[in-house]
Symmetry: C2
Subunit: 443 residues, 2 copies
């Protein structure tokens, strides 16, 4: 057996599989303290441990079984290799709303190759409709591959590219646009497009998935069905991010593009709205609005403000953070820095001098919370007041990631620092939550 044929297996388990003469796709019986399972051996693709064997059972389910003391592997023969053969494309039904799907890559646009174990980051319109044929009952779907990349490689160039493709789709009469995108930087991109797309007439929905579409636990199909239906029928014309609301498949939740953060590395409901309620959810085949106030679908003329400054950094403060690091950013020509401060918006006093130098050099400095939740308040402690005197702008309850994206956008779409600061302070796409008014007990 070649290594390639035991893709993903390591250590003692791999030795046992080799000893039994078993390769990927072979039928085998696995006996352990937990019982006996028959199935075909699958490649390992999504876990870090080396003590689970993955079998595809006759029922079609994949199971992972722990390989412990006393476990035995018996080769039974060669199983039918799993194959991916798309059914013929469904017919386009007349009279359905037109929804455009623009693929940029990521897990939702991927499938596992069972021979190499690799995850392919590409999916055509044909693939999509063959995996989720129900889409053709919901909308007249067209699907393009714009990019085919893992989202950790997406930057301003792609944000601009996505914006221009959306503008084309709007011009062609799309009643909603869905952007499939890797989840790693999905929140950064949804924030970016929230600022770029001015006077938006239709819903623009970013969607990803945490498990590839050929896994029984995949969220790709339910996420796609929910977002395409919502793109076709929802009353809002906002940039949102749609993903599983809980572990259950029954509800897809739509976060404001500027308020969503990936908060778990692997669960299907990894994205959560921070400091605000989501905009809407899709449940029982219907869109339920949660927010009371939002931009309505309309006939407006879409405008793009689609440039981004590249010399902007997001810097997380930590104990022992050296002022020379700030100096380097200034010397390297950075035009803006979002500081992720501690607590209500603090950094050590040892950085004051370097920050003064940055301000003097014309670098815009904004403060966002490393706490994730809550609001920056630089009026409480002397540190915050001193940082404001130096020129650090408190950015309320904006997510640090959104603040970073917004500063790149504000600097590229203004003539001077004052105008950029004015954009930073204005609530443009729901990035600031309403302040909670109270007249009762204080504190």
């Amino acid at each position: 057996m070649g290594d390639e044929q035991l893709h993903g297996y390591r250590g003692k388990l791999k030795e046992a599989l080799e000893a039994a003469g078993v390769g990927i796709g072979d039928l085998l019986r696995f006996e352990s303290g937990d019982g006996s399972f028959e199935g075909s051996l699958m490649p390992r693709v999504e876990t870090a441990d080396d003590w689970h064997v993955v079998l595809k059972l006759k029922s079609g389910y994949n199971v992972g079984i722990a390989f412990g003391e006393g476990a035995k592997v018996v080769r039974l023969g060669q199983a039918e290799k799993p194959e991916f053969r798309p059914p013929p494309l469904p017919e386009v039904k007349a009279g359905l709303p037109k929804v455009s799907i623009v693929s940029t890559g990521g897990t939702i646009a991927s499938r596992v190759d069972y021979i190499t174990g690799g995850v392919h980051a590409a999916m055509s319109s044909r693939d999509l409709l063959s995996i989720v044929p129900e889409l053709s009952d919901i909308a007249a779907v067209d699907a393009d591959i714009l990019y085919s990349t893992f989202s950790e490689n997406i930057d301003a160039e792609q944000w601009t590219g996505i914006a221009r493709r959306i503008a084309e789709k709007v011009k062609e009469g799309a009643q909603g646009v869905v952007i499939t995108h890797g989840t790693d930087t999905l929140g950064y991109s949804s924030a970016a497009l929230s600022f770029v797309l001015r006077n938006l007439p239709i819903p623009v929905i970013f969607v990803g998935s945490q498990r590839s579409s050929d896994r029984p636990s995949s969220d790709a199909a339910t996420n796609l069905l929910g977002v395409v239906s919502t793109a076709a029928h929802a009353p809002f014309a906002e940039v949102v991010l749609g993903m599983h609301e809980t572990t259950s498949d029954t509800s897809i939740v739509f976060h404001w593009g500027t308020k969503a953060r990936k908060l778990h590395t692997s669960t299907r409901y990894a994205f959560q709205s921070v400091n605000t309620e989501p905009l809407a959810r899709y449940v029982d085949g219907k869109v339920e609005m949660i927010a009371e106030s939002y931009r309505k679908r309309g006939e407006g003329e879409l405008e793009l403000m689609d440039s981004f400054e590249s010399k902007v950094a997001l810097i997380k403060f930590h104990p022992g953070f050296q002022p020379s690091t700030i100096d380097w950013y200034v010397d390297d020509g950075y035009k803006g820095v979002i500081l992720e401060g501690t607590g209500l918006g603090h950094v050590s006093t040892g950085l004051y001098e370097a920050l003064r130098g940055a301000v003097k050099a014309g670098v815009v400095l904004g403060m966002a919370p490393q706490c994730v939740w809550g609001r920056i308040d630089m009026d409480v402690y002397s540190t915050g007041r001193e940082l404001q005197e130096i020129g650090v702008e408190p950015l309320g309850d904006m997510l640090a990631e959104t603040a970073f994206v917004k500063l790149r956008w504000a600097l590229a779409n203004s003539d001077d620092i004052e105008e950029a600061m004015e954009l930073m302070r204005r609530n443009i796409a729901g990035e600031y939550s309403d302040r909670t008014l109270y007249t009762g007990r204080f504190g």
Copy 2:
């Protein structure tokens, strides 16, 4: 009226107060659509808005009242200035367990000066017992001021200083040590001491508060009572962080020192355990253990491994992150970098070359999640596998902040990179959670 006497007031509200001839400490009547309130004017110290007037009512409570259209201010005279006069120290009762409180500063060790509005970051043993006299019923308390600083200024020098003071207290027979500390970097410090204090015989409890001790909503007294009682009686000998479990005063929860993160800028239960359950809670005057496995109180001889490398950085990856930034850290002589990657532990391929250069220069690279929750898994996608080939070490479910502190510790307490990496991989103070074993459905 001088500015100082209207400390914290701004805009229209300040103008109205000036027009009425009212200063801090004056008795006034405030009339608005919500009713009429009489009280003495308090300085503003803890809110970012400029439309609330803060009054101390006769009942002693402070209220914040919105200043809106049509509101009126009438000066009634001069109120008695609030004063802080400590009662005599309670007697030390015989036979109680000895608990040492070491103060490093922060809100828990502060009180507001009602004349200047400033928050004073210092509290003596006398202050402490006069604010929370019940402490003397729980334990024979001694309290030292070790530092008097906001925690954003605490770094390795203070971590070492705290460790040495704890060692003295242990030698003097303390049955528990409580460290009061600002909440901003409380999680970094509790992680640091978790690695420093080897063979610990007693509980060491970090505690902070989110509201200063003279505010009706302060968590300072309940937190102190809970942690002192726990330090005196708990069965564990671990470094923990004790704070409010919920908004309610009824329960103080003890997070593992390496697993706690400040996740809200201002709530009293801002700290949460990430990827694991807390160790214990204090409720109804008793310590309830949550964890099944922990280090027991004992007679061991405390050892300190109390040095930290200063040339270590925590770098949060973001879209558009430039490779030249990595190059600068290498050129500046950094010995270690924790990357806060996206998703399962990724950065853009554009950084590969710079990371290869860092590894070649002997810089230790570790990967932690910017998602906060979940586990790094660099075996799933090609990006993760490629980063591992370059030499980036996946750090499981360790918090990024803990990984950063641990790398500073590991590099200072080992002879070479291999030994440091071995320390990084070993579970030393609960920083890695146990893997979840399962034998059922896969995915």
